[in-house]
Amino acid sequence: MSDVQRSAAPAASDQSSSRSASRRAGGFDLGRILLEGRAFFALIAIVIIFSMLSPVYFSTSNFLTMSSHVAIFGLLSVGMLLVILTGGIDLSVGSTMGLAGVIAGFMMQGVSLDIFGMTLYPPVWAVVVLTCVAGAFVGMINGVLVSIFKVPAFVATLGTLYVARGVALLMTDGLTYNNLGGNPEFGNTGFDWLGFNRLFGVPVGVLIFAAVAIACMFALNRTPFGRWVYASGGNARAAELSGVPVKRVQVWVYVLSGVCAAIAGLVLSSQLTSAGPTAGTTYELTAIAGVVIGGAALTGGRGNVRGTLLGAFVIGFLSDGLVIIGVSSYWQTVFMGAVIVLAVLLNSIQYKPRKKRSASAKDQKTPPAPSGAS
């Protein structure tokens, strides 16, 4: 019996697959390409427009300067992307970033251990590692709140936003650490390397950003973890039944987002050679904007690192361009808002079922005659 029944169905599917494959090869849909590559085309448009408006915009040195600005919130965006892919949101990254800078600044001043009557000056690498651990810790609190205690991500991370900022203010009493240079005597110099030095002519901050982005891209595309992130965001129930450790994945994305924020905080305070408790205020919103402009869906499951990078560059190159041509900062804010709304608008066009488009595109094709009737 089984031979007979097997013969029928595959014939149908083979037929349909070869048919659609041949159509797809010939298809070229300009609107679709523009829509899917919108962040890329937007970036090109921004570069062209500002280059025409200002002679200093189009130069290697300006691009590098702008890139080191982009690196700061780009780092936040990449971490944010992971969280958003699982269907969550991390509002605490700006505060975590500020807190990370303060923690680094605090350690650079020397940690006095009163019981031993001495002051410890940790070397810069230790400062960096400990700061990242602190970022991971904040992320872990978020992750545990969201995945185990089922606190809505928006609320949980809003809470840590305030707590982290408060802790940063408490640690400094509202003041700023201005001396981050260290002292050769204590062997803790070199913090400014992150923000000022260049390797092969590229600022270190930008290289760190690139490395984090590539690592993240790799994790999302080539590791089980990446697949789990997309699956948890797409349909957590189904993912769980397929054996995806959804809770663990959720904790991890917040931890990674916290680490990204800590790295961003280190780079920023190094660039500024100071660490203030209010650094990074509202940066979480810029980070979210970068992710959204990059085409990710806030409902989870859709988005990628490439898009997020483009989104971050669109924001950075646009806002720096506006500064360069001398647009008032009020107008800058208006422009930023308009770009974000436009991006989300295009996202909803991309992700809604494409009914009208394909219907009108195929009108001219003559359908084959029905085989059975008449």
Partner: protein, 520 residues
């Protein structure tokens, strides 16, 4: 058989008498990108009669119905209502013309109550805003008519799949339309609920309502149909009146061959007990004092296929979800090959070879944002991971094998899951779990929406697995399926096993044991 006469030159003038054509599709075509879902189809709906639409998964049935009810627009061709050409801009527009549809995939808002879902978008006005009391009364009346006592204020997400389907039917009935399209309305219902629905359909017919009915339960559909239309690969291949056709005719036109679902595999010896439930109880989510599964014990041996037959709400889903680790039992233990697995996570159970094909594919089976291939490989990521990295090539092999095994009508797996027809989505859920190469597989109503050819193929896969030592528990509300695949049939009713049969049982015996009348 002289049934394949032309339908194109039938009169389309409006007639008040029963049998006149009220709504028809003329040369309707529809493409999705490069896929031609419908190719110049003609289709008539007659007043006061039931027209059934048969066809394989992906034949274009749902697409045609969506066009007739204004969900999507045709690429070409026209829709004729009462002799006049019309075009529906939306479902609301179609509803105004008296056409409503029960979708294949449920379209309820899970966070709202049954009452609010039924009146969504058509809220009854009253002096102080919405007249909730009247809505609740009307909902209750519909529920009585459908013989399913659901409180109008229950949240839809708290209902079982079958009950949700009944709410969906109630919503369509509440519109009082003249043309009612039902796209697989009974896929999650069991025999007695189907009987109730058929009574309702008979009543609607007598009031002059025209009905289009789609189902892969062919025998069931034959009992109510007046006209049968067969679609194949987007084209209409046959039309006939009820008196001219039988089951064999339908299958022959649907898939080109005739075959039956066969009988349970024999000739291999069964091994040790693979999975056993020992005194398992599961509490009801809504009423924790009540048990949906009540101190039940059941075991299945390697190489054995056990069918659990039961009515909706018998506790089958809860029992299987408990084995898979989705819900935890409040009593008893579950042993997998001699090891107590009650405390293991879902992932650990899958690793040990115990998998569940869930009942509700949209909620529990598919990740809608991922492609077909990614869905298929989701449960077996470990199989194509080396060290930290996944291998694209190995993954593609897993995907291609699954597509071939369960006959998914798709193109290499890159398409979005939402672009597949309902039955093909169901095959993805089955294929995903079988791809993990399990030792014990639990299937909860896996034939929901798959066509007869695919069903036979799934049965063949299960039989083949059984002969190699796979243990299978197959939950179904179709007696026919039990008889074609099971070595042993367990009837479940109100959380307990009410009877157990060998493969030589008759249909009547099973139905009697489950507490239904045997005529359905």
């Amino acid at each position: 058989m002289s049934s394949e006469e032309s339908v194109m030159d039938r009169p389309t003038a409006p007639e008040d008498a029963t049998g006149g054509v009220v709504l028809s599709a003329r040369n309707v075509s529809r493409s999705f990108g490069s896929v031609h879902a419908l190719k110049s189809v003609n289709f008539d709906i007659r007043r006061g009669q039931v027209t059934t639409l048969f066809g394989e998964n992906g034949a274009g049935k749902s697409t045609l119905m969506k066009i007739l009810s204004g969900v999507i627009q045709p690429s070409s061709g026209e829709i004729v209502l009462d002799g006049e050409s019309v075009s529906f801009a939306s479902t609301v527009d179609a509803q105004r013309h008296g056409i409503s549809i029960i979708h294949q995939e449920l379209s309820l808002a899970p966070n709202m109550t049954v009452r609010d879902n039924i009146f969504m978008g058509r809220e009854l006005g009253g002096p102080g805003g919405v007249n909730y009391a009247e809505e609740a009364r009307e909902t209750e009346r519909l529920m009585v008519e459908l013989d399913e006592p659901i409180d109008p204020l229950t949240l839809v997400e708290d209902l079982r799949l079958g009950q949700q389907q009944i709410v969906e039917i109630a919503r369509a009935l509440s519109v009082n339309s003249r043309i009612l399209i039902m796209d697989e309305p009974t896929s999650a219902l069991s025999a007695s609920e189907v009987e109730v629905l058929f009574r309702v359909i008979a009543d609607l017919k007598s009031r002059g309502v025209s009905i289009v009915y789609i189902s892969h339960h062919l025998e069931e559909a034959l009992t109510i149909t007046d006209h049968a239309v067969v679609l194949r690969d987007g084209a209409m291949t046959a039309y006939a009146e009820r008196c001219e056709i039988d089951l064999e005719w339908i299958v022959r036109h649907m898939v080109g061959e005739n075959f039956d679902l066969g009988s349970p595999p024999t000739g291999h010896t069964m091994g040790e007990v693979a999975l056993s439930f020992e005194d398992i109880s599961v509490a009801d989510v809504a009423v924790p004092e009540r048990s949906v599964v009540d101190r039940l014990s059941l075991s299945v041996r390697a190489g054995e296929i056990v069918c659990i037959y039961g009515l909706m709400g018998a506790g089958r889903t809860e029992l299987l979800e408990c084995a898979a680790g989705r819900v935890s039992p409040n009593g008893g233990r579950i042993m997998l090959e001699g090891e107590n697995i009650s405390r293991l996570s879902i992932a650990e159970r899958i690793e040990r070879g115990l998998v569940l094909v869930p009942e509700d594919r949209q909620r529990d089976g598919l990740v809608q944002t991922m492609a077909v291939g990614e869905n298929l490989s989701l449960a077996s990521i470990g199989a194509f991971t080396r060290g930290l990295l996944t291998s694209r090539r190995r993954e593609q092999t897993v995907i291609d094998d699954s597509i071939r095994n369960v006959h998914i009508k798709t193109d290499g797996g890159a398409a979005g899951i939402g672009s597949l027809s309902g039955g093909n989505q169901q095959k993805v859920v089955i294929g995903k779990m079988l791809a993990t190469q399990p030792r014990v597989v639990l299937l909860d109503e896996p034939s929901r929406g798959i066509d007869i050819g695919a069903k036979a193929e799934v049965f063949r896969l299960l039989a083949e697995g059984a002969s190699k030592g796979l243990a299978v528990i197959y939950s179904t509300s179709e007696v026919g399926e039990c008889l074609s695949v099971a070595h042993r049939i367990v009837v479940m009713s109100r959380g307990r096993i009410s009877a157990e049969f060998g493969a030589d049982v008759t249909r009547e015996e099973i139905m009697a044991a489950s507490g239904e009348s045997a005529e359905g």
